[in-house]
């Protein structure tokens, strides 16, 4: 009998907050910039320097926790996590241990037609480390000859969000990561740019025979810098573990690095021989107390979150998969949708335009452009009243983005407006019928397909600008 394996995946997310200043000192939070210019005694870990927590960062972790349906601890404490690494100048990271700010939340994640609730174990506040640049042999961490350190990132506020091991596939893990990223971006507390490292994902992966409860040995995988590589790394790690177990071998508990080029994870043989972090309460920072009214004020300030937006859109009659895409679309796109609907555009049609053609067209453009809700509303109006065919409307939209002109002007310029004026079409139909007496005779004796031929002739005589639906209708009436 062959064993069917079930992957068990948990994700740890590190989010760099985009506050003005660092977590425990007044140095500026920057991305890029001249190395080692945003540093002071506190973030360099110089003796005697004392940390003081950034009030905005504390509000923002609560915002994140609330958006993830977490409980905010009434009382929370910073701890020191002790380990030696060159990018950690104090030899400890100020983090949290048994009293994190946020606990017990969840995020609903949808893959295909299935939505599953993924538990959030905790979200805690900590500080980022400095940045290492590995020199020599192409900058690969394993073969570097020396390491350069930039401490501009040292002490940047970092929120770590730890999921429960509730994810069951690489695809689901990717969906969770993307939804979480969008949520954080929505809250406006981080740039949340994976390629820039302002949001980072590590995965804990194990496998077990399906139907069993006990967890297999977990492996932590790191170094995924896109959602695609996150999914690939997890899939590859699942395959590796299954192959080991089926070959009668054991999975070793370790940290593995994802190698994008090789498409595989490889073992990170760290000099750090122990992960005994010897946590203890940080004596330089005072305990944190979150009053209920303060938490409720922060909750009231939350924006509409993607999940709420999605159900609101579905309530407006937008198809589920369109609602999902639009709920997570860029804010500019969503604004266009909301404005168009406020002006009276049918929500389902407006959503299809925004999530479909408008999203696709803006991505293809070389210079960023957007149509506002009023312009989209007018475009939709022209398609609804038959003046634009749906294919012509797509062409008009692209040109609206390029030129910044309104639908009417663009459609006129491109000569795409359909003749939907009944009297004009009546004349064209008459002309065709008068010249096609034989075809008319055939239709009347029961040859239905002749109608298509006649429609074609009217379309031709109007230079393709007649509304084919209307032509069809008029012809049937006249021949009827």
């Amino acid at each position: 009998m062959t064993t069917v394996w079930e992957p068990v995946i948990g994700i740890e997310v590190h989010v760099e907050l985009s506050t003005q200043s660092k977590m425990f000192c007044g140095c500026e939070v920057t991305f890029g910039g001249e190395a080692n210019t945003k540093v002071c005694p506190t973030c360099l870990g110089l003796p005697g320097a004392l940390p003081v927590a950034n009030s905005v960062a504390m509000d923002w972790i609560v915002r994140i926790g609330l958006a993830l349906q977490c409980q905010v601890s009434e009382r929370s404490v910073f701890h020191r996590k002790n380990y030696f690494y060159a990018d950690l100048p104090k030899n400890y990271q100020v983090s949290q241990f048994d009293l994190p700010v946020c606990r017990n939340g969840w995020l609903d994640v949808t893959v295909g037609d299935e939505t599953r609730r993924i538990g959030i174990e905790r979200a805690h506040m900590e500080e980022d480390t400095g940045k290492s640049l590995h020199q020599g042999n192409g900058g690969r961490i394993h073969t570097a000859t020396s390491t350069l350190l930039d401490f501009n990132r040292s002490g940047v506020p970092l929120v770590e969000i730890v999921s429960r091991p509730d994810l069951r596939s690489a695809t689901e893990a990717r969906a969770y990561a993307q939804d979480l990223r969008n949520l954080v971006a929505e809250l406006g507390v981080s740039d949340a740019r994976m390629e820039a490292g302002s949001i980072r994902f590590d995965a804990n992966v194990s496998v077990r025979p399906v139907g069993t409860e006990a967890l297999g040995t977990k492996v932590e995988i790191k170094n995924m810098n896109s959602f695609r590589s996150l999914e690939r790394a997890i899939a590859s790690e699942i395959d590796r573990q299954v192959a080991l177990l089926e070959g009668g071998q054991k999975v070793r508990q370790e940290t593995r690095h994802w190698d994008e080029g090789a498409g595989a994870t490889h073992s990170m043989r760290s000099k750090e021989e122990s992960s005994d972090y010897r946590y203890f309460a940080e004596p330089d920072l005072l305990p944190l107390v979150f009053a209920a009214d303060q938490v409720e004020a922060l909750r009231a300030g939350l924006p509409e979150l993607p999940a709420e937006r999605r159900s609101r859109l579905e309530g407006l009659g937008v198809a589920p998969h369109t609602a999902r895409a639009l709920a997570q679309a860029e804010p500019e796109l969503r604004r266009t949708f909301e404005e168009a609907v406020a002006l009276g555009a049918p929500p389902a049609a407006a959503a299809n335009w925004v999530a479909g053609e408008l999203t696709a067209a803006t991505r293809r453009l070389e210079t960023p452009a957007m149509v506002d809700g009023r312009s989209l509303f007018r475009l939709i109006e022209m398609t609804e009243d038959g003046r634009l065919s749906s294919s012509a409307a797509k062409e008009v939209l692209v040109e609206m983005l390029r030129s910044g002109d309104e639908a009417e002007a663009v459609a006129t310029r491109l000569d795409l407006i359909q003749i939907s004026d009944t009297s004009a079409l009546e004349a064209a139909v008459s002309e065709v019928l008068d010249s096609q007496l034989e075809a008319v005779e055939r239709y009347r004796s029961g040859e239905q397909k002749v109608l298509g031929f006649l429609v074609g002739l009217v379309m031709k005589s109007t230079g393709g600008k007649a509304d084919p639906k209307l032509v069809n209708q008029i012809l049937r009436q006249r021949l009827g």
Binding site: Q20, E28, V52, H134, H142, F151, L285, L286, V289
Partner: protein
């Protein structure tokens, strides 16, 4: 009450290379401290909340405002090795 200590492990965690004599010396010294801690732990603390800090105050925050950072030249002057821009250290991982 004598306390069992793996002093070599503790030294390794602290990156201290100690001789056999030093290990024995610090085992005894640390032992005294831990015995004291063990004695404190015998006190019945039932009904008392854990204290993370001796002070009664909480929530000391600073506003999110940028303050001037140090001059890079000054910062790097204290480093054992630099290239004028970065701190330079030996590679972090074994090959």
């Amino acid at each position: 009450m004598p306390v069992d200590i793996d002093i070599a492990y503790v030294a390794r965690l602290a990156r201290l290379g100690l001789s056999a004599e030093e290990l024995a010396f610090y085992r005894d010294q640390l032992g005294v401290i831990l015995e004291h801690a063990a004695k404190v732990q015998e006190v019945d603390t039932e009904g008392f909340e854990a204290t993370a800090h001796p002070l009664g105050i909480v929530n000391q925050f600073r506003p999110d405002e940028i303050r001037p950072s140090l001059d890079r030249g000054e910062v790097l002057a204290a480093a054992p090795a630099t290239d004028g821009v970065y701190f330079v250290v030996p590679p972090a991982l074994e090959g």
